[in-house]
Structure formats: structure tokens, C-alpha cells
């Protein structure tokens, strides 16, 4: 019941409550933010769930640590978290510089039928594989813009670049994805209309 009372509170307000010692705020923030952080980290890391979970725990730990000093209204909590995740993932990707795309599941191998859910999953997997073929910064910008649904100004804050640079990165990224995925259109349920 107490959690229901907090359900309308913004992430910002909940983080301030957590910083003031409220025991309920952490649970609600975790429920809200952990799935998004995990999904974003997994996309940047090419679907490596274990590594994405490590990044998620680390990013959330940094959020708890900054809570007492959090200045309400200055930045969105998700923007701050995505920036932390971006930095953590970039560091990890740098360490394993060469990404073997062959290790990512081939969508064609796991599509025994034309079941819609499988097609959807295959599309997601094909997109993930194509994303991993992009340069890091293009992958981050495209993921934030077109999958996480962040605005260009927010992405500019997350990546600490200009809005124009974000637009350029997403445009180039989308163009490369469109080219990479063109060959998948038949097997993933698209005609050449």
C-alpha cells in the first residue's frame, strides 16, 4: 500500500526520498529503473546478459551513492544512469575490442516456423547483430534514440556531445543498419514491395 502511494512520484523525487532515508524509495526505483538499465546495457554489450547484469548493479550502486548529493530538477535520473551505463559499457567494449559477430545467434537458425513471436524475436536478434557491426558511438546513439526513446537533447547529455553530433550519428547509424538488414527482409517476413 505504501508503494502504491509512491507510484506517482517521479524518479527524481524518489531519489531524494531515498537520500533522506526513506526505505520504500529504493525498492520502487529499482523496479522502475533496473529493467531499463539492464536492457540498455545488454544492447550495448551485444546481448551478454551476465556482463549486462554486472553493469546494471554497478550503475545502480553509483546511483545510490550519489543520492545524498542529488540536486533535484537539474538532470533526469534516467539520463544520468544511461550516461553511467554508456561509460561502463564503453570501457568493457574497449577491453574486448574485437567483437565476433559470428558468436551472436543467427536469426535464420532459430526460426523453424513463421510464428509471429519468433519473427519478432528474430528481428530483434537481427537488429542486435547489425547494431554490433556499427561503431560504438553510432550504436549508442541509435539505441538511445530508436529503442530507448530518448530525445536528442537527452542523448547529447548522455554522450556529452552536441545535439548536431547526435543527429549525425543517428543518421549514419540508421543508414548503415538499413543496408545491413536489407538482406534479412525475406527471412524476417518482409516482401520487396
Amino acid at each position: 500500500m505504501a508503494l502504491d502511494a509512491y507510484s506517482d512520484a517521479s524518479d527524481d523525487a524518489l531519489l531524494v526520498l531515498y537520500g533522506n532515508g526513506d526505505p520504500m524509495a529504493a525498492e520502487l526505483l529499482t523496479r522502475r529503473l533496473a529493467p531499463r538499465v539492464l536492457g540498455f546495457a545488454a544492447r550495448l554489450l551485444g546481448g551478454d546478459r551476465a556482463e549486462a547484469e554486472d553493469v546494471t548493479q554497478e550503475a545502480m550502486l553509483r546511483l545510490w551513492k550519489i543520492a545524498p548529493d542529488w540536486r533535484s530538477g537539474e538532470a533526469k535520473v534516467t539520463t544520468w544512469l544511461f550516461r553511467v551505463v554508456t561509460n561502463l559499457c564503453t570501457d568493457r567494449l574497449r577491453k574486448r575490442r574485437t567483437v565476433d559477430i559470428d558468436l551472436i545467434d543467427d536469426p535464420a537458425d532459430q526460426a523453424p516456423g513463421a510464428v509471429e513471436t519468433l519473427i519478432q524475436a528474430d528481428r530483434a536478434a537481427a537488429l542486435q547483430a547489425a547494431l554490433m557491426g556499427l561503431p560504438d558511438r553510432q550504436r549508442i546513439a541509435v539505441t538511445l534514440r530508436h529503442i530507448e526513446g530518448e530525445t536528442n537533447p537527452d542523448i547529447a547529455q548522455i554522450m556529452q556531445i552536441s545535439v548536431e553530433a547526435v543527429e549525425s550519428l543517428t543518421a549514419r547509424g540508421k543508414k548503415a543498419l538499413a543496408a545491413a538488414l536489407a538482406g534479412k527482409r525475406e527471412e524476417l517476413g518482409y516482401g520487396e514491395d
Binding site: Y18, G19, N20, G21, D22, P23, A26, E27, L29, T30, R31, A34, P35, L38, G39, A42, R43, R49, A52, E53, T56, Q57, M60, L61, W64, K65, A67, P68, Q120, A121, R123, A124, A126, L127, Q128, H146, I147, G149, K174, K175, L177, A178, A179, A180, L181, A182, G183, R185, Y190, E192
Partner: protein, 156 residues
């Protein structure tokens, strides 16, 4: 693959790339393909949160020893000045004693100048009333509010 096709002819260039609508379908599929955090991850995150959370000023949980003094101070402050004063004096029994002493003082102040003069051998007070009475009736020992004692004397 796309590059190879593009080299063949410009006529099929539109087939080398997905249009925005088709690409959007891939993005939609990716957005729906959510990952649910494991219970172990959620527990680990909440454990971290509990470990890092600042302690509230009035916690339901027993405070560590170094916070105990501060909390007691806070409680005293919240209890108020009057409660502090009462505690300093010694509680309700001491206050009752003080009230009795105060009333006795008032009574003595109204009723006993003559008695006081008698006890002091005429050294403290002087004036007419010191010579009007040498003996005392019972009413002289009672408080003489509003001069009733004097009225009774006159009538008697």
C-alpha cells in the same frame, strides 16, 4: 552484400536498403524484446541500496551507538521546554511540594504580620496594628482575605 548489389546497378539501389518503415519494425521488435532482471540481480541491487542509504533522523531501526546520543538529544528537543523543566525539578511530586510552599507563603503574607512581630519581639514591624492585639483568636490564624479579619475584629 549491400555494397555488392550497389555495384551491379543503380536500378536496384532501393532494394539495398530498408525504408524507414521497415527499419522501424526492427526497432519496435527490439523495444518489445525486453529483458527481465533476475531475482538475484534485484536482490543484489536492493542490498546495495540498503547498505548505502543514509540513516533517517528518526529511524524505526535501533540506531548504532554513536547515533544514540544525538537521537536522545533530538527526543529531548521534541519533548519541549516545560517537560525539560519538570524533569529538572524532579517531577510531579516536587512540583506539588513547590505549589504547597507557594500557597503557604501567600497565606503567611496575608495573615501573619502581627504574629511575626510578636515572634521578632517588635524589632521588624512597627505601627498601630502592632499594639492593638496581644492575644489572638482562631480567626487570626486564618487568611484575612479582603480584610474580613479586621471586620470581625471591629464587630467583636
Amino acid at each position: 552484400m549491400a555494397k555488392t548489389d550497389r555495384k551491379k546497378t543503380d536500378g536496384i539501389k532501393q532494394n539495398d536498403m530498408l525504408d524507414d518503415r521497415a527499419l522501424q519494425a526492427f526497432f519496435d521488435a527490439a523495444r518489445d524484446d525486453t529483458i527481465t532482471p533476475s531475482d538475484a540481480l534485484m536482490t543484489a541491487i536492493l542490498d546495495d541500496a540498503a547498505a548505502e542509504q543514509p540513516q533517517p533522523a528518526m529511524s524505526a531501526v535501533a540506531p548504532p551507538p554513536d547515533l544514540a546520543l544525538a537521537t536522545a538529544r533530538d527526543l529531548r528537543r521534541a519533548r519541549g521546554v516545560w517537560a525539560d523543566l519538570k524533569a529538572m525539578i524532579g517531577g510531579w511530586p516536587a512540583l506539588a511540594g513547590m505549589a504547597t510552599a507557594t500557597l503557604a507563603g501567600v497565606w503567611i503574607g496575608f495573615s501573619a504580620p502581627i504574629q511575626l512581630e510578636q515572634w521578632s519581639g517588635g524589632l521588624i514591624l512597627s505601627g498601630d496594628y502592632t499594639t492593638t492585639e496581644a492575644t489572638f483568636a482562631l480567626e487570626d490564624m486564618a487568611p484575612s482575605y479582603l480584610g474580613t479579619g479586621l471586620l470581625m475584629e471591629d464587630e467583636g
